[in-house]
């Protein structure tokens, strides 16, 4: 589905420059995605079940192996894993038996874009109001925010690269806008 959305975005770009596709902007590998809601008293049990540290502070990413959890709210996480990882619901159900939690599969609701390069932060800041300086938004920080008219999840994966999670129907808009902004920041 991500392929369709981004292919559509490519097709919609008007009057592309010679050289066409901006290699700094690429689709992420297919992911499985869950929205996880947990009460405070279940953080360690859930962490043990999935191998992730859910006690990390809000707006932080924790990664273990192929799995990542982005703490988007005080009791809300976005869990990302390769599309082949089918063990999350079962593992959590076993580890949290008898406890309250909510797990919603949103794999097909969103699509991922990876943006890399020395101008990555500036390209996002063209239409995003967050302070993306390394002191204010260090590597490993992740939050929902706003990208022009779209609501996105922004995760800094290295000083010069970001992962964006976008609701599927907004992906053509975000990708097209990033390509347009990229023209201001030659590689």
């Amino acid at each position: 589905m991500a392929d369709i959305a981004l292919a559509h975005a490519d097709a919609r770009r008007t009057a592309p420059l010679p050289g066409a596709v901006d290699r700094r902007i690429e689709k992420s590998a297919p992911l499985t995605r869950f929205v996880l809601r947990l009460p405070e008293e279940s953080l360690t049990a859930a962490g043990a079940a999935l191998g992730l540290d859910f006690t990390a502070p809000i707006n932080r990413a924790v990664t273990s192996g192929d799995r990542t959890a982005l703490r988007l709210g005080p009791d809300e996480w976005l869990v990302l894993a390769p599309a082949t990882d089918a063990a999350i619901p079962g593992g959590l159900a076993a580890g949290l038996a008898g406890r309250l939690f909510s797990l919603v599969d949103v794999s097909h609701r969103q699509t991922g874009i990876r943006l890399a390069g020395p101008h990555a932060a500036a390209m996002i800041n063209a239409v995003c109001p967050l302070d993306l300086g390394l002191a204010a938004f260090p590597v490993g920080m992740a939050t929902r925010t706003i990208f022009a008219k779209a609501d996105i999840v922004l995760w800094r994966t290295s000083p010069a690269s970001f992962h964006l999670e976008i609701w599927r129907s907004f992906a053509p808009y975000v990708a097209a806008l990033l390509h347009e902004i990229g023209r201001e920041y030659p590689d």
Partner: protein, 87 residues
Amino acid sequence: MLLIPCPYCGERPEIEFSYGGEAHVVRAPANATDAEWTAFLYQRSNARGSYAERWRHAHGCGRFFNARRNTVTDFFEQTYKIGEVPA
């Protein structure tokens, strides 16, 4: 841009937030009179100066919180989580 201190996320840009009206409005009881319902639904103190308001960090942590904002200067005097007593 105006920065609003979210009690969960810290200072964040104003456009990530949405406004939720006056805070601490107590719901009228089920057996309220029409006049009491009208007051609960429609009448607000609309203070000039320090005003208790609900805000939601809609494009952030997604949580509602309370704030005390000066409606003359637009200065946020304090923000606090739902259920907390303001300092």
